[in-house]
């Protein structure tokens, strides 16, 4: 048997809202046949910004396009008896269902999830919800910012004199999608080995809570809660610095991470900008630095004038260069520095270009409109034997109704127009 993709032969029905899109995308790019099951008017998430050319519409959302590329689309009205019947027949052909309804919401529509799963014992049913399927908050409303708040991570981000902050990019949805995809694949391996399917439950709160880092562990051991520190407790070499055209993040001086502070001094000296930092006291101070120094207030107080002077010279040095110069020249010296890259910087990165990471494809804007060329971010990983591939753009609403319902599920074509007429699809 020849297979070219890791998930060849796996059919996934994706009923999810924005909250679950990424899970289906991950499976689709690995080769699964992912079919979006949308209500007749289309997934409400099709209305989310940003839009192509700022033209708001059902077929122009860049957000939708990115997370739904490589999927097919059928429409079906689950509130109608005939719609549910059709959906049941489609489920009979599926290996994995992904949905992000609130617990009980599907059943309230009249969809008997238990019966569907009984009919197809190997089926993996992946539920993504804000708080999981049981517990006192199970039915609560959720959005990305709410999940980030309850997961214990918003409290860690931001300035102490500002408010807690959320992580950009809908981090809760992204992380939930990644968790659900892991769960679905684990369950798929089990189902393929044993014939036993199962329910896979992702809670946004729980999935994201691992991103608390040490916060919860600190409470467990020491009974204190970490809070956002912004730029407090800054050591020279560690933190955000302004450059000629933006910002960089510098992490120089963490023992064991990259080249030490003395390399930073050598760099400044090579460019004639080290000023008095070449005097031995600076090299000696930084050479003696370790994690214990950072936690010793008395020692830090004694060193304060030296550290302040080093900070001043370094700030001036970074400010005279572009972000890319600081980043590339510093990294060439094995100094841990990253530029604070904007989307434009990432899009223009010569490193990512050399790696041929971006995906170019034609994206439909709906019937009758010219498709547009789209340059999309590439995949998160490269598999040598079963390469990841984005084979096509996101589907139009119900684009594959005929193909899926008639050719694959076996609904007679005449019946399809009846179902369409009554609004079941």
């Amino acid at each position: 048997m020849t297979t070219s993709m890791a998930l060849d032969g796996v059919r996934v029905l994706d009923l999810s809202s924005e909250m679950g899109w990424y899970a289906g995308k991950l499976l689709a790019d690995l080769g699964a046949d992912v079919i979006k099951v949308e209500p007749p008017g289309g997934d409400p998430g099709r209305g989310l910004p940003p839009f192509w050319a700022d033209q708001a519409g059902r077929e122009t959302s860049l957000r939708f396009w990115y997370f739904n590329a490589n999927k097919r689309s059928v429409t079906v009205d689950l509130t109608q008896h005939d719609g549910r019947h059709l959906f049941g027949r489609l489920v009979d052909t599926a290996d994995i269902v992904i949905e992000s309804f609130r617990p009980g919401e599907l059943e309230a529509l009249g969809v008997d999830v238990g019966a569907l799963r009984e009919r197809r014992p190997a089926l993996v049913w992946a539920s993504i919800s804000g708080f999981g399927l049981d517990g006192p908050h199970a039915g609560w409303e959720v959005t990305d910012i709410v999940a980030q708040a309850v997961a214990g991570i918003a409290v860690l981000a931001g300035y102490p004199d500002g408010s807690p902050q959320r992580i950009a990019g809908n981090a809760a949805y992204v992380v939930a999608g990644i968790s659900a995809a892991q769960g679905a694949l684990l369950a798929l391996l089990h189902a393929e080995a044993t014939g036993e399917g199962q329910l896979v439950e992702t809670s946004l709160q729980e999935a994201l809570s691992i991103c608390q880092e040490t916060s919860h562990l600190g409470w467990d051991f020491q009974r204190w809660s970490r809070e956002r520190i912004g730029e407090q407790h800054r050591m020279p070499g560690i933190g955000t610095y302004e450059t000629r055209d933006g910002y960089i993040y510098s992490a120089v001086g963490i023992p064991g991470f990259g080249a030490p502070w003395t390399e930073l001094i050598a760099w400044m000296a090579d460019e004639g900008q080290a000023e008095d930092l070449t005097e031995p006291q600076f090299a000696e101070t930084f050479a003696a630095f370790d994690m214990r120094t950072l936690g010793d207030p008395e020692r830090l107080a004694a060193l304060a004038p030296t550290l302040a002077r080093a900070q001043e010279v370094l700030t001036e040095f970074y400010a005279g260069k572009s972000s890319m110069e600081v980043y590339e020249q510093g990294q060439a010296r094995r100094l841990l520095i990253g530029m604070v890259a904007s989307p434009a910087d990432i899009a223009d990165s010569h490193h990512l270009a050399a790696r041929e990471w971006w995906v170019e494809l034609e994206q439909s804007r709906g019937l009758g409109a010219e498709p547009v060329p789209l340059r999309m971010p590439g995949p998160p990983y490269r598999l040598s034997a079963t390469p990841v591939a984005v084979r096509g753009g996101a589907p139009r609403i119900g684009e594959h109704n005929r193909e899926v319902w008639v050719d694959e599920v076996g609904v007679p074509f005449e019946d399809l127009s009846v179902y369409a007429g009554e609004g079941a699809i």
Partner: protein, 422 residues
């Protein structure tokens, strides 16, 4: 039904050469779901997480750091010095007997240690080898160094997170290390395992951490590549919801005195209003607060246009509320809201997490009963399971060397004397 205790990765052995966060967390998920994961450690390169805070108070050494322990529950620890003569042979012997190789070492170290995919294939052609280089194994930046705090800026997250009128300071943690990079790695490994079960063929996985994180930032990147717009951070505001933000409530008591001496803590809640219907529900909760009658706020467009005034009004109103009570009132009305929980909340007060039993408390020989994250996803027929706390440093060297690698006691003694094993 399945056999009692059967898990999806039973019988899968992982040679885990990774350290710190992104690699070991991937290994932890594999271990939770049945894999036998062997961490390769060394006195010459101690995993930094064994040494950092939080450490069990009053204790020291390699075994009392919660940061390490949390990510390594259920694994074995083998001490193997790759720098010693004969070290590589032991490593290859383990790889020969493993299904998965996992590493987040830099490409330089992989090459120095002779652990490239081609070299692994010489002893085990069916191996699934997962590498997590920072920026990939080729390309002009291939040797760039980093970890979560450096990935956050280079992938656009820092530029896009936080308040627009202030410097970008990141998100307060090494965010990409905890879910995005390990999670993507596990997905790739599981996909490769499926392919191997069907065809017998192994493969090489390269997860460039830069690409793995940037892949999650699709909409912002497309806004630039398609529209030419270079978006900037906008704090807690949304491009389509209003109000949408984090609002301060009445201060609350701390469950324990903070190291800075304080006994009170700030309380904040997050709120997201997605429609005019939800806004009406929000106003019901607000009762006779003046902003509920303000015509400017009646529509989404109005609330977005006058968002400063809206946030000010809501902030003033929320300040008198106790955070949990306000969240419960809003949720009862159908408005998405949640307390900005800190560690004390998550560990002690969140009755929902507690009732679901998310956190697990394992008895570790040195730290005693300690908190561990539960499995990241709940499989109902074959649930993840933390079968043991984190291994002590080198706890399983002898067992792995004899039972898995097949060395005799004498050979182990020789390898130990030669500084290869410890």
């Amino acid at each position: 039904m399945s056999d009692a205790g059967a898990r999806p990765l039973d019988g899968v052995r992982v040679a885990d050469f990774s350290w710190f966060g992104a690699g070991p967390i991937a290994g932890r998920t594999l271990a939770d779901f049945g894999a036998e994961v062997i961490r390769i450690e060394s006195e010459a390169r101690v995993d930094g997480l064994r040494l950092t805070q939080p450490q069990k108070p009053g204790m020291s050494g390699y075994n009392v750091g919660a940061y390490f322990n949390n990510y390594n529950a259920g694994k074995a620890s083998l001490l193997l010095n790759m720098g010693a003569e004969g070290g590589r042979e032991v490593a290859l012997r383990l790889i020969e007997r493993s299904d998965v190789f996992l590493s987040n070492l830099t490409p330089r170290v992989i090459e120095r240690w002779g652990l490239t995919y081609e070299e692994l294939c010489e002893v085990n052609p069916a191996i699934i080898a997962a590498y997590q280089p920072m920026q990939g194994t080729f390309g002009p930046h291939r040797d760039f160094l980093g970890f979560g705090a450096v990935l956050t800026p280079v992938t656009g997250i820092s530029h896009l997170s936080g308040e627009p009128d202030r410097r970008p300071v990141g998100v307060g943690t090494n965010y990409p290390d905890y879910a995005v990079n390990p999670g993507h790695t596990v997905i790739a490994i599981l996909a490769a395992l499926r392919h191997r079960r069907r065809t017998g063929e192994g493969q090489r996985i390269e997860l460039a951490q830069l690409e793995s994180v940037a892949a999650t930032m699709g909409p912002s990147l497309l806004d630039y590549t398609a529209n030419g717009r270079n978006p900037l951070r906008k704090g807690n505001r949304s491009s389509w919801m209003a109000p949408h933000g984090i609002y301060r409530c009445r201060d609350g008591a701390r469950g324990a005195v903070h190291p800075d001496g304080s006994t009170v803590r700030e309380r904040w809640i997050a709120v997201a209003v997605r429609s005019d219907v939800e806004w009406s529900a929000f106003c019901e909760v607000a009762g006779d607060a003046l902003f509920t009658q303000d015509e400017r706020f009646a529509t989404l467009l109005g609330r977005r246009e006058y968002e400063d005034a809206l946030n000010q009004a809501i902030g003033a109103w929320a300040a008198d509320w106790e955070a949990t009570e306000l969240v419960e009132a809003l949720q009862a009305a159908g408005v998405a809201a949640g307390v900005v929980q800190d560690a004390e909340d998550v560990c002690e007060h969140d009755r929902h997490l507690r009732q679901r039993g998310f956190y697990e408390y394992l008895d570790h020989p040195e730290t005693g009963v300690s908190l561990y994250d539960g499995p990241i996803v709940k499989l109902h027929a074959t649930p993840g399971e933390l079968v043991a706390p984190a291994p002590l440093f080198g706890e399983h060297t002898y067992a792995v060397a004899t039972e898995i690698l097949g060395y005799s006691a004498e050979e182990v003694a020789e390898l130990t004397a030669a500084g290869v094993l410890a």
